[in-house]
C-alpha cells in the first residue's frame, strides 16, 4: 500500500470516513431509487395510458401529471433542496442529514424517472397494444403484460440513466449536509485543500457508476429479443 499512501497522503488516514461516506451515498441512492422508482413508474405509466390515444385516455389527468412533471423537472436541484426544507422537516423531523436528503432526492428524481418511463413505454408498438385489446385484454393486463414486458429493455436502460443521475444528485445533497461522498469531497477535500480526498471520492463514485452501467447493460441485453 506504499504507493497509495504516497499519492493519497490525507485519504489514507481517513479509511473509516470513506467507508462511512460510501455507505451513506449507497444508502441515499438505494432508498431514493426505491421510492422515486415506484413513484416515477406510476406517474410514467399514468402519462402513457391517459395520453391522447392511450388505453385510458383522460385529458385532465394527463395534463395534471404532465404539468407536475414539467414543473419539478424545471427547478434546479440546489434550489429545490432549499425550497423543500420545510416539507422535509415535516416528514423526517429534520432538514439535515442523510435521511433528510432523501426527500428532496425523491422529489428531484421521480419526475425525471417518470419522463424516462413514459419515453420507454412510448416505444412499445401501438399495434401490439391493439392486438392485446383485440384478444380481450383489459387496461391492467395491458399495463403489466404488454407495456412493462415489451418495454422492459428500455425501462432498464432508463433506470440506469436515472440511477446515475441520482448519484450525481446525492453528491449535491451531500454538499449541504446530507453526508456521503459528495460531502466528503467538498467539505473536507475542497475546503481543506486536500485534493487527494476529492480525487478518491470521485474515483469511488466512478466505480459505482461503472458497475451500475455494466449490470444495467447486461440485463437490458438479456431481456431484449428484438434483434
Amino acid at each position: 500500500m506504499g504507493w497509495f499512501a504516497k499519492y493519497f497522503p490525507n485519504a489514507v488516514t481517513m479509511k473509516s470516513d470513506f467507508i462511512q461516506a460510501t455507505g451513506e451515498t449507497l444508502y441515499m441512492t438505494a432508498i431514493t431509487a426505491i421510492i422515486a422508482g415506484i413513484l416515477g413508474m406510476a406517474i410514467g405509466i399514468g402519462l402513457i395510458v391517459t395520453q391522447p390515444g392511450g388505453i385510458l385516455e383522460n385529458r385532465i389527468v394527463y395534463n395534471i401529471l404532465d404539468k407536475f412533471v414539467n414543473l419539478f423537472r424545471s427547478i434546479p436541484f440546489v434550489i429545490l433542496l432549499a425550497i423543500i426544507a420545510p416539507v422535509t422537516r415535516i416528514i423526517v423531523g429534520t432538514a439535515i442529514g442523510t435521511t433528510a436528503a432523501i426527500v428532496p432526492l425523491v422529489i428531484g428524481s421521480a419526475p425525471f424517472y417518470a419522463r424516462q418511463i413514459q419515453n420507454a413505454l412510448a416505444e412499445v408498438d401501438h399495434g401490439v397494444i391493439e392486438a392485446a385489446e383485440s384478444v380481450g385484454s383489459g387496461p391492467i393486463a395491458i399495463i403489466f403484460r404488454v407495456y412493462l414486458k415489451e418495454g422492459l429493455a428500455d425501462i432498464i436502460r432508463s433506470s440506469v440513466l436515472t440511477l446515475i443521475s441520482l448519484i450525481d444528485l446525492t453528491a449535491m445533497a451531500g454538499a449541504i449536509g446530507g453526508g456521503g461522498l459528495g460531502n466528503l469531497a467538498v467539505n473536507i477535500g475542497y475546503n481543506r485543500f486536500q485534493t487527494d480526498v476529492i480525487f478518491l471520492a470521485m474515483l469511488i463514485i466512478l466505480v459505482i457508476v461503472f458497475i451500475i452501467q455494466l449490470v444495467g447493460d447486461w440485463l437490458a441485453r438479456r431481456v431484449d429479443h428484438t434483434a
Binding site: 392486438a131 384478444v135 380481450g136 431481456v223 431484449d224
Partner: protein, 354 residues
C-alpha cells in the same frame, strides 16, 4: 354455408375530428356477414375499410349506427362484457403485432392468460394451435427469428386461442410476398372449412379475394359501392372501380395495354374486329372457336386467354381478333350472345394517344 347472419353492421358512420378538420371515414355503411362466409372488403388505402371492420370489435367506436355480432349488441356492452365478446372475434394485422419479448409459444399463450384454463391445459392448447398453423418446431423461438409468413401464422394462432367464431383479417397479407400470401390465404380457407370460422378479409388486392372469398364488397370514399357474391361481381361488375380491381386481378388490363400498343400490326378494319369474350360456368372456348368458323366462316385469332376458377365456377376471358364478312361477324356475335357469352367490342386507342 347457412344464411344465418353473424355480423350485422347497420348505418355505420365513423367521423374523425382532428385539429378542426372533419373526416368522414365511413358513411352510412351497412354490412351483413353470414356464418361461414369469407367476406372480402376491397378498396384502395384510405377507403375506410380498416375503420369499418374495427367497428366489429369496437376497437373503433362508430359515431352512429348499430353493431350486432353473434346476437350481441356490441355498442351496448360494458367494458367487461366487451372484453369477453372480443375473445370471440379474432383479429390479425398487416404488421403481425407480435410481442418481441415473448417466445412464439408465449405469444400464442398470451390471450389465455388470466382465463379459466389451468397451466397444463394452456400448454396443450398452445401446442395444438401451433400444430394447426404448422409452427410446432418454432415454439421456443422469438418473433425476430421468424420470416413474415411465419409471424403471420403465429398471429393467426394467437387470434384463434380463445376459439373465436370470427376472424378479422386487416390487410394481413399486404406485407407478404405473393407465394407467402397464397400460403396464408390457403390457411385461412382451411380454417374456414375445418373450424367453420367466419372470415372478414380486408385487402387492397383483388387477387386475395379471388382466391378464397365467397362474397365481396368494394369500398370507395367511406362507402360500399358494390357488393355481392364473388362470381357475380367478377362476371358482371358494374362500378368502374370494381372493373378496375378485377381487370388488374385477372391481368386483362396488362394484356390489353400490350395489345393496344401493337394495334397497328393487327390490321383492324370492318373485316377484322377486336373483341373480348367472357363466359361463366361450363361453356368452354375450344368448340366455340371452331363452331364460329364452321357456321359463319369467322376465323378467331386468340391474343389472350384466361380462366379463373372462382368458388369452383370457371370464369373465362378471351381477347380475339375475329376475321370474316361484316354481316357474318354480326351473326356470329349474336350466336355467342345466345350461348351466354358476353361480347365487348374493343377499340384500340390511336398510337401516341394511349
Amino acid at each position: 354455408m347457412t344464411n344465418e347472419a353473424i355480423i350485422q353492421l347497420k348505418d355505420i358512420d365513423v367521423t374523425f375530428h382532428n385539429k378542426g378538420q372533419t373526416v368522414e371515414a365511413v358513411k352510412k355503411v351497412s354490412l351483413t356477414v353470414n356464418r361461414g362466409d369469407i367476406y372480402g372488403v376491397v378498396g384502395y388505402s384510405g377507403a375506410g375499410k380498416s375503420t369499418l371492420v374495427r367497428v366489429i370489435n369496437r376497437l373503433q367506436k362508430p359515431t352512429a349506427g348499430s353493431v350486432d355480432v353473434n346476437g350481441q349488441d356490441i355498442l351496448a356492452l360494458n367494458s367487461r362484457d366487451l372484453r369477453a365478446a372480443r375473445t370471440k372475434i379474432g383479429m390479425i394485422f398487416q404488421h403481425f403485432n407480435l410481442m418481441d419479448s415473448r417466445t412464439i409459444a408465449d405469444n400464442v399463450d398470451y390471450p389465455l392468460k388470466g382465463g379459466k384454463l389451468s397451466r397444463t391445459e394452456r400448454k396443450e392448447k398452445v401446442a395444438h394451435l401451433l400444430d394447426l398453423v404448422g409452427l410446432t418446431e418454432k415454439a421456443t423461438d422469438y418473433p425476430a427469428q421468424l420470416s413474415g409468413g411465419q409471424k403471420q401464422r403465429v398471429a393467426i394462432a394467437r387470434a384463434l386461442a380463445n376459439d373465436p367464431e370470427i376472424l378479422v383479417s386487416d390487410e394481413a397479407t399486404s406485407a407478404l410476398d405473393p407465394k407467402t400470401t397464397s400460403a396464408i390465404l390457403e390457411l385461412l380457407k382451411r380454417l374456414n372449412k375445418e373450424l367453420g370460422l367466419t372470415v372478414v378479409l380486408i385487402t387492397h388486392e383483388m387477387e386475395a379475394v379471388k382466391e378464397i372469398c365467397n362474397k365481396v364488397a368494394v369500398m370507395e370514399d367511406g362507402e360500399i359501392i358494390e357488393r355481392g357474391d364473388l362470381v357475380t361481381i367478377f362476371s358482371q361488375p358494374k362500378q368502374p372501380l370494381t372493373k378496375d380491381f378485377i381487370n388488374t386481378a385477372t391481368q386483362i388490363n396488362q394484356a390489353l395495354e400490350k395489345i393496344y400498343r401493337q394495334a397497328s400490326t393487327l390490321g383492324l378494319d370492318d373485316h377484322h374486329q377486336l373483341v373480348q369474350l367472357q363466359y361463366v360456368g361450363a361453356t368452354t372456348d375450344a368448340p366455340l372457336i371452331t363452331e364460329l368458323y364452321k357456321r359463319y366462316e369467322v376465323v378467331s385469332n386468340i391474343l389472350y386467354g384466361n380462366v379463373e376458377i372462382l368458388q369452383d365456377t370457371p370464369l373465362g376471358n378471351l381477347i380475339v381478333v375475329m376475321t370474316g364478312e361484316p354481316d357474318k361477324l354480326s351473326t356470329a356475335w349474336q350466336y355467342c350472345q345466345d350461348a351466354g357469352i358476353t361480347i365487348t367490342h374493343l377499340k384500340p386507342k390511336k398510337p401516341g394517344v394511349a
